[in-house]
Symmetry: C2
Subunit: 336 residues, 2 copies
């Protein structure tokens, strides 16, 4: 890591981000919750088991097919809570707005936030608004933090994957990343391609209601599926083997990735989850996912292994094996 200045890479969610966090943030704020590097911190307070999470959103453009910075800001935090098995309850919203920003755009963003909040059944209960002079910020940045209630018996975390576990994905990967890229660069892609931004908490509740044991849930946002699988392999000290053919990818994402030389495995998703769970529950949970609108494309994509701890290996269609690493740097800044 360069120890002089901050680079764009360090906000990528990939390897450089991890290095920055491990070398700078963790040693300063060391505590058992932060050290776990999960989507939310889970702790007990006043007898309640709670999850707390935060995310700042700086996406560019702020409006894109399928959503906007407002829907992203609510879904991102709702999903980070859901990934710990929490029922998301209350959200805060902090706005940093550039002077001169159009009120009608702000109204549109608030409308999206409210719509997703209603769908996710959470309340935005506290907020903050700062306005900075023109040029001191680009349009609008939104931070959301959220609090959720975790059932006492639930323990879903990145370190819980076990050899033999099945690895599921809830649908197509790369839709959000490719949508942002194509909106920004003015690429003509399939007009049906849009961001998958969506709140996943109701799907998670349905998965939990089957009574199945779930070891890990994680949403493959910045850094994509490659990063998420590597994080799980690292945190649980297990190997993960996935089958290339089993990973669902939208045709136009695949086509555009090939033309642009990008890997859909590294592309951001904002409405997908990875679930790791004992094989005996895989079929039941997959069926529960498929019954929901956001999980209709769910698939079993691989298995957790004792071999190659910390590594993710992909079996290719032609029978080869490829090591899947975390993307080293920044594929696309301001993706979320």
């Amino acid at each position: 890591m360069n120890l002089d200045k901050i680079f764009l890479d360090q906000g990528s969610g990939g390897r450089s981000s991890r290095e920055l966090i491990e070398k700078l943030f963790i040693p300063k704020f060391k505590n058992s919750y932060l050290n776990e590097l999960n989507d939310s911190a889970v702790f007990e307070l006043g007898g309640a088991k709670l999850a707390l999470t935060t995310d700042s959103f700086v996406v560019d453009p702020i409006f894109f097919p399928g959503g906007d910075i407002g829907s992203l800001a609510v879904c991102g935090t709702v999903n980070d809570l859901a990934m710990r098995g929490a029922r998301p309850c209350y959200l805060s919203a902090g706005f940093i707005i550039e002077e001169g920003f159009l009120i009608k755009d702000l109204e549109q963003i608030l409308f999206s936030m409210e719509k997703i909040a209603r769908e996710a059944d959470i309340q935005i209960v506290t907020g903050d608004t700062k306005v900075v002079p023109k040029g001191a910020a680009d349009k609008i940045f939104i931070n959301t933090s959220g609090i959720g209630l975790v059932p006492l018996h639930i323990d879903i975390a990145g370190q819980n994957a076990k050899p033999g576990d099945a690895v599921l994905i809830s649908g197509n990967i790369g839709d959000h990343g490719m949508t942002i890229l194509s909106s920004r660069e003015g690429l003509f892609l399939d007009s049906l391609l849009k961001s998958d931004v969506s709140p996943l908490n109701h799907m998670v509740q349905k998965m939990l209601k089957t009574g199945s044991e779930i070891h890990v849930l994680r949403d493959p946002t910045r850094g994509g599926l490659a990063t998420t699988l590597n994080e799980i392999a690292f945190q649980s000290q297990v190997g993960i083997e996935v089958f290339q053919e089993a990973i669902p990818i939208h045709e136009s994402v695949l086509a555009a990735s090939e033309i642009l030389g990008l890997d859909p495995l590294n592309m951001a998703n904002e409405g997908k989850l990875v679930a790791v769970l004992p094989e005996i529950y895989a079929e039941t949970v997959l069926a529960a996912m498929k019954e929901t609108s956001y999980g209709s494309g769910a698939a079993l994509i691989g298995w957790v292994k004792a071999e190659n701890p910390g590594k993710v290996i992909m079996k290719t269609a032609i029978g080869g094996k490829r090591l899947i690493d975390m993307p080293a740097g920044e594929q696309l800044p301001r993706i979320c």
Copy 2:
């Protein structure tokens, strides 16, 4: 309110901010917690009575006498929790960093955050880092959100002031605002003048430990004492009368304010609180405040009245009366 573009005024914490929030945000996110417009939302979850709050910090300069954006970010959220009588427990931290920002500056900021967190006895348990391209943000913005535990019998809120209540302030007003102004403009002020940024939760705990009833606590940050008193008068539908001579102001803040034509009542504070409580408890609570380092300059500055609901009136040194309004616009952008 201009309904076309966002103006700097609307981030001032004064009247324009209030209008923006009341006209745009509240109607969209309507719920009983947000409508109260208190420093934190207080709710029950899993049997626990909790407070949740959020604040984004965009102060310029990021380093100033007495503190930096890091100490401000932790104190701001700790204090917003304490103002509801909560014991602040856990914090989240979200960073938006401009590409090229110096690592040594980031380290200094993290150091300040950790130092204040230790003093305030809270843990930073979850975080997020985004890096934006050069020019898309000015240096660094920090959001902190916090969660605190509120004792079941405590009900401290802006709407609880009652006629006959005493109004206390914990010390000199305007130190933070004048420090930022003078650092930014290169004014030569008393070299002893520095920001009052400090965590007030331990002082609040000492005030509560006296067993006194406290109706309202609020920290007069953006918009200053004038805004805070007006908010309390409005929320409680009471009049507030304060004595000009009783309001403690540092000599150099007073002198500089006169030269610059600014009103210290409108100037931001980051380590002060206003307490409103029944007269019978005033002396006890004042004594408890004075025993703490951050409350050594505490004073009784006025009384709550039934007359003139929603209005704040100042009795001047020469026996006159002056209506204290909320500052209409922006006195100093990026004060916190």
